[in-house]
């Protein structure tokens, strides 16, 4: 059980304008800005939930994760995770926590991955039998057998990320924080990582909090998302509801031959471009391409088109998750 209420955290950063004059000036009198990284963060996450924590760059995602990991001490507010305050009972708290920072390694650079794992076993005091069992399982599921004897610095990004995830799970944590786990990975590695996380959540009931810019990660893994912007929770809800609310209009692309006048369209449909141009609505003979925006069912528009022209191809696209997020960011002005 994770509960945050009214968490605030601000940083003081020194500020100066460019140029040599200002540089000299700041030597004598430095100006500071207070940046409110977390203005007011409250949410609850139950055991075994899998939650996507999203927001634009600089919104406060990582700061929240760092507060929950016991790395940052907030200025005010409460955070209780499984009955403990992370920064006060840090050691007890982190022994049940796994963290993957996508941009940083948890492994030792110059030694084989297996040696790093052994060191982690000692640091977390993992029982040798449990360690063996976890390692075997992780090796199999993440396909690590070829990698264990390789020094970390020789691994590719995708290989390393699989090892990082294994490293975060050696001690069977109850809660897993994934901070951009698929950043820079190829399609195959991304899917492998997603599948693994989904299995982990299903089989072990591990609570997973995922921060990412990759909306496919969110779509594949989480039902609930929390949107943060400028240090505040803007939205907290089911992904399906959000999809419904922010989906907007679908797009229909038609290719046809022959002449056509597309001024009178069924209700809910509007012409966006014809042959790549806006404002054009009628064309003479030849092959053409028209893009429409539609609300609801496309059938009326399709029957109209097929009656008037020789349709050669047709495609209906629903709003991608990326567009939904853009719509959300726009609506909340972040």
């Amino acid at each position: 059980m994770i509960r945050l209420s009214h968490i605030k955290k601000s940083f003081r950063v020194s500020r100066r304008a460019g140029g040599i004059k200002n540089a000299v000036g700041s030597f004598f009198r430095r100006q500071y800005d207070t940046v409110e990284a977390l203005a007011d963060i409250s949410f609850e996450i139950g055991d075994g939930e899998m939650v996507g924590y999203i927001g634009p760059n600089g919104a406060g995602k990582s700061s929240t994760v760092k507060v929950m990991s016991g790395i940052l001490t907030p200025d005010s507010g409460e955070c209780v995770i499984n009955g403990r305050v992370p920064w006060k009972q840090r050691k007890e708290h982190v022994s049940e926590l796994g963290v993957v920072f996508g941009q940083r390694s948890a492994l030792w650079w110059d030694v084989p991955v297996a040696d790093s794992f052994e060191l982690l076993q000692a640091i977390y005091s993992v029982d040798p039998i449990e360690y063996r069992r976890n390692l075997d399982r992780l090796t199999e599921m993440l396909d690590l057998s070829q990698l264990l004897q390789t020094p970390t610095r020789q691994l590719s990004l995708g290989q390393r990320m699989r090892c990082e995830i294994a490293a975060a799970l050696i001690h069977s944590p109850k809660i897993l924080f994934l901070d951009e786990p698929t950043i820079g990975l190829d399609a195959v590695s991304k899917i492998a990582v997603r599948d693994f996380v989904a299995d982990l959540n299903r089989e072990r009931g591990t609570t997973v909090i995922l921060t990412t810019h990759d909306m496919q990660d969110i779509e594949a893994l989480t039902k609930r998302i929390i949107l943060i912007g400028r240090g505040r929770i803007l939205l907290d809800g089911q992904l399906s509801d959000l999809r419904h609310r922010f989906e907007g209009r679908r797009r229909l692309t038609a290719e046809f031959t022959g002449s056509a006048d597309l001024t009178a369209l069924p209700e809910g449909a509007s012409l966006l471009t014809l042959d790549g141009r806006e404002g054009l609505s009628a064309v003479s003979d030849g092959s053409h391409r028209a893009v429409f925006a539609i609300d609801g069912s496309p059938s009326a528009l399709i029957s109209l088109l097929s009656g008037k022209t020789e349709l050669t191809d047709i495609a209906v696209e629903s709003t991608s998750i990326d567009e939904i997020v853009v719509n959300m960011y726009r609506e909340y002005g972040v």
Partner: protein, 264 residues
């Protein structure tokens, strides 16, 4: 679940460092030699100075050498095993400290264990060689209490240096700039502390007692060692110096609370 002791964890860290080291053997040996020759030149300075003048403020050549070797040994032990604290700006800068905080072990322990700079043993080697000469040549009768005195000087001396490293790391939580002044209290003390501090006069003695208690691991026990005094206070002065570690630990805790982490 049985808790694995810090000592076991430390041994595993050490074995990792050794294995990494084996990948860069030539570099290791060169640095080791460099460290040794640096220390050797410091030794030569003392040799020429005292051959010319005989004594410094009443200390003989052999007595100064005992002082030199104990400070060098203390410093090199601290630097070898607590190098992680000495390079703390990098630990903060590359986000390694975030990683340390998400692991269930004491933070200072992890910082110290994260890096063992075995090349610094070059200085230790010089200290050992000097002891091998100075101990028999000093004419001191090494009874158990004198041996204890020397051991306390070295071990507590190393811990005081570690304390100074912790203060250095504490400052890093607030700023990573202009930290060179801290070198006065580390490298500066190593060099100037090769001579007993009382030769520099009262002001230096006061600073080196009450700001950082270096005199308690150096000149006071040295007086007991070379037989200038019988006071047990001098013998156990190094233990008193360990009180210094308490404010160091408190400052550290304060620093961790103010830790800002880096971006991303």
């Amino acid at each position: 679940m049985k808790k694995i002791s810090n000592l076991t964890v430390y041994r595993k860290f050490l074995s990792i460092h050794l294995r990494s080291l084996m990948q860069y053997k030539a570099s290791f040996i060169m640095t080791l030699l460099g460290q040794f020759s640096g220390a050797f030149s410091a030794f030569l300075t003392i040799y020429f100075l005292l051959r010319r003048f005989g004594t410094v403020e009443g200390y003989t050549y052999q007595e100064v050498l005992l002082c030199f070797a104990s400070i060098y040994m203390a410093f090199s032990l601290a630097e070898t095993f607590a190098r992680g604290l000495d390079r703390f700006p990098a630990v903060i800068g590359n986000g390694e400290f975030d990683r340390i905080l998400v692991r269930p072990r004491n933070e200072i322990f992890q910082v110290i264990a994260s890096k063992t700079e075995l090349t610094r043993l070059g200085r230790l080697l010089q200290a050992i060689v000097t002891f091998c000469y100075a101990i028999p040549a000093s004419g001191i009768d090494f009874t158990p209490d004198k041996i204890l005195c020397l051991v306390l000087m070295v071990v507590c001396g190393a811990l005081v240096f570690v304390g100074v490293f912790v203060i250095f790391a504490f400052i890093c939580f607030f700023t990573l700039e202009g930290l060179e002044f801290m070198n006065i209290l580390t490298d500066g003390v190593r060099e100037h502390g090769s001579y007993p501090f009382d030769i520099y006069g009262k002001e230096i003695m006061t600073v080196m007692t009450f700001v950082v208690p270096y005199t308690l691991v150096q000149v006071y026990p040295l007086h007991y060692l070379i037989g200038r005094t019988d006071s047990l206070l001098n013998l156990f002065a190094p233990l008193l110096a360990l009180v210094f570690l308490i404010p160091c630990a408190l400052l550290w805790k304060l620093g961790v609370r103010h830790y800002k982490s880096t971006g991303s």
